[in-house]
């Protein structure tokens, strides 16, 4: 876990206030609330394997846009960001991991440049335009990152709970996937 330095950075930037891992990060400034009804809350996991808190917050906000909560759970409810963080510590790395953190950093930098706030604090509409820009970008790295982000989010929402996402299999049950009796544990 690589917290202190990152936490210091975030606090200095005034982007968020929070106490420690395992608590909620609240984005409750007027900027964040400008075009969304509720402030964006992220439950930080007890530990992070690879990502900094700032990266985790960016990731969680992006997962929330890619697979949002409606009358069924969204990617953040299902634990997709936890899955992504844990997967980045595993060997072999998942195929989508290549260039993943660099892609998150570019997403964050674009948010700051265009909207003057971190990605996590941007409005839903601004977050969505930042993601859509990646798909349309002439830079193939950006389009690849968006696809990798989508893949990682879906694996975290709909993969086996043993990998840290898809809490209690809710992604399968609540979205209505056929029940597969042999899909509840991880291969040894």
């Amino acid at each position: 876990v690589i917290l202190p330095g990152r936490r210091g950075f975030l606090l200095a930037a005034g982007a968020a206030t929070f106490a420690a891992l395992g608590t909620k990060v609240r984005f409750d400034t007027p900027v964040a609330l400008a075009s969304s009804d509720t402030p964006f809350h992220v439950d930080l996991p007890e530990t992070l394997s690879v990502l900094s808190v700032a990266e985790y917050v960016t990731l969680a906000a992006a997962c929330d846009r890619i697979f949002p909560r409606d009358d069924t759970p969204g990617a953040v409810d299902l634990g997709a960001p936890v899955y992504v963080d844990r997967s980045l510590a595993e060997r072999p790395l998942p195929p989508w991991a290549d260039g993943f953190r660099a892609g998150l950093a570019r997403l964050e930098a674009d948010a700051l440049r265009r909207f003057g706030v971190t990605f996590g604090r941007a409005s839903h509409a601004d977050q969505e335009s930042l993601l859509a820009d990646r798909d349309a970008s002439p830079d193939p790295e950006e389009a690849r990152f968006l696809r990798n982000l989508v893949t990682a989010t879906l694996e975290g929402a709909l993969g086996d709970p043993a990998y840290g996402g898809n809490a209690a299999g809710a992604g399968w049950v609540e979205l209505g996937f056929p029940v597969d009796p042999f899909a509840r544990t991880r291969m040894p």
């Binding site: 709909l158 086996d160 979205l175 899909a183």
Partner: protein, 554 residues
């Protein structure tokens, strides 16, 4: 036998369709057999449906450590790929196959005679006939338990006995497929499966989870060598399977006979295993690579390769993919996920050419199983028949996923003749090496125009059938591709050492105690998945080895 011994009567490299039958028959005959398998051992009961593991290539090697390289034509630069690996697990590709267990047809063994010369293709007759192979097909039926229906259609290959097990239960849509094919003058029939429809020889029956392809079978009903053959081989007390042991060189003595196999064990130590005979069965691509890596002063171009033919005439199964979407589904079975279980072989061999094609292959229909991540990704990336456009995400992704889950999908796939040709082969990549420094296998692929035409013909016929089922949408998603799990041909067997690597016993013409028992021997791909034929031939090869061991000829 003593575990960890550095001597065996016979070393078998690979534990899948080509290695499993040889290990079993030699062990039954009392020979001391060691099977070297580069993959790990996974208890059959641990074979859960872990889609994340599948996506991380649990079943095949990590491409970062052990790539293949692939190019379409010699003008291209070869790119790193995981394609061309069939498996990396005890049991090989049989662990994660679907088990579509069609036999080849008599015409496959005499295709050159049947077609006459084919321009720019290396079509050859086999040195054995269907009739010589038939008893071994029957042995596979009985050893692993094949489920099917005899005398179901006019194009069926001759059989000396019925299937030991009745066919797998099918989705009601099968009846509608039968009606549609009958209206078109075609004959659909129950797909024979290496899956137990009933308990058999101590193994349990199919639980109808439907997730055969790409996953291990949790109940042992699927006829993998892991479930059906290797336990019996080990039970003889004469066979040891060494997992995570990668053969790196076959060593030859001064008299031109094979001395044994060098391998890297699970701890990364290099070891040598001496043997009276060596059997390579690690897939057409990797068996060829191992021979090409085994250079010596006697065989400077690679073992058994004075002819320069090792790696040549690489074969795959050519396939088209597509399907249909139904918004109102045919009700299936609430408890069991049943598949359509239908095949069509009216395009197998045609006396009169259709679209310029006389030899095509098998069309199969199946009700796909649902892989949650795969389905969501297909919707997101629009790889399911929709036009390729922006990635779909957000509430639109969830909405479309719900629609998709309410629809029924019927898929088709095909197994079509892949015409061997001079532009399709395996050699050692001149630049790329695996993480241990050995050159990797480079695949160069140039599908023959007839392969493309034949595959498209099957896709066209599939669309004719699907349209009669009144779907909301029918589509061909892939007009022609090579299924690289299904491979053969790199050490063709034949009578003439000038044009073949192996003799009719699948023993190297140039090395009297070296055999290859995987798909490498195939001179033609057949119009079916080759796995059943590889297994049958491996039983035949084993009989030949036992005969020569007993006669002290090897």
């Amino acid at each position: 036998m003593k575990s960890g011994s550095d001597y065996a009567d016979v070393v078998v490299v690979g534990s899948g369709a080509g290695g499993g039958p040889v290990a079993l028959e030699l062990a039954r005959a009392g020979a001391r057999v060691v099977v070297l398998e580069k993959g790990r051992y996974v208890e059959p009961g641990s074979m859960v449906h872990d889609e994340v593991a599948k996506r991380r290539h649990f079943m095949v090697p990590d491409v970062r450590d052990e790539p293949h390289t692939l190019r379409y034509g010699e003008h291209q630069a070869a790119a790193r790929t995981a394609e061309g690996w069939t498996a990396n697990i005890v049991g090989g590709g049989t662990v994660h196959f679907s088990g579509f267990f069609h036999r080849m047809h008599p015409v496959d063994m005499r295709l050159r005679s049947a077609l006459g010369p084919v321009a720019d293709a290396n079509v050859a007759d086999w040195p054995i006939s269907y009739e010589e192979l038939e008893p071994y097909y029957r042995r596979v039926d009985e050893e692993i338990g094949v489920s099917g229906t005899w005398k179901a259609h006019p194009h069926e290959e001759p059989r000396s006995a019925p299937y030991p097990l009745p066919p797998i239960d099918e989705h009601p849509i099968a009846r509608r497929i039968d009606e549609a094919t009958a209206r078109l003058g075609m004959h659909s029939f129950p797909t024979p499966r290496a899956v137990l429809s009933q308990p058999y020889r101590g193994r349990g029956a199919c639980a109808y989870c439907s997730m055969c392809a790409d996953y291990g079978c949790p109940t042992g009903a699927k006829g993998s060598t892991l479930a059906a053959l290797l336990p019996a081989a080990i039970a003889t007390g004469h066979c040891e399977v060494r997992a995570r042991c990668m053969a790196t060189e076959v060593v030859v003595r001064d008299d031109g006979r094979v001395d044994g196999v060098v391998y890297r064990d699970a701890e990364g130590m290099t070891r040598f295993l001496r043997a009276r005979a060596v059997v390579l069965a690690c897939t057409a691509v990797e068996s060829a690579r191992l021979l090409l890596l085994s250079r010596s002063s006697l065989f400077p171009q690679g073992l058994a390769n004075r002819s320069g033919l090792v790696g040549r005439n690489l074969l795959f199964s050519s396939g088209a993919l597509g399907g249909a979407t139904f918004r109102s589904s045919t009700p299936g079975d609430a408890e069991r996920h049943l598949s359509a279980q239908r095949s069509v072989q009216d395009m197998y061999f045609m006396d009169t050419p259709v679209d310029g094609v006389r030899k095509a292959g098998t069309l199969g229909f199946l009700v796909g199983f649902v892989e949650p991540i795969g389905m969501a990704e297909a919707v997101a990336f629009r790889s399911d028949g929709g036009e390729p456009d922006a990635v779909v995400w957000g509430s639109r992704l969830k909405q479309r996923l719900r629609e998709r889950l309410s629809q029924q999908q019927l898929h088709f796939e095909s197994f079509c003749e892949f015409y061997a040709n001079a532009g399709t082969y395996v050699d050692l990549d001149p630049e790329v090496k695996d993480r241990w420094g050995a050159p990797v296998a480079r695949m160069t692929v140039s599908p023959h125009p007839l392969t493309r035409d034949a595959t498209r013909l099957i896709a066209r016929k599939a669309m004719d059938v699907l349209k009669l089922l009144s779907p909301d949408e029918a589509y061909v998603s892939t007009p022609q591709t090579e299924t690289k799990f299904l491979q053969g041909g790199t050490c063709r067997f034949g009578r003439d050492p000038e044009t073949s690597v192996l003799d009719r016993e699948c023993r190297a013409h140039e090395v009297p105690n070296l055999y290859v028992s995987d798909g490498s021997f195939l001179p033609t791909s057949g119009g079916v998945p080759p796995t059943m034929t590889i297994m049958a031939n491996a039983f035949r090869v084993a009989d030949g080895i036992v005969r020569r061991l007993r006669a002290r000829e090897i």
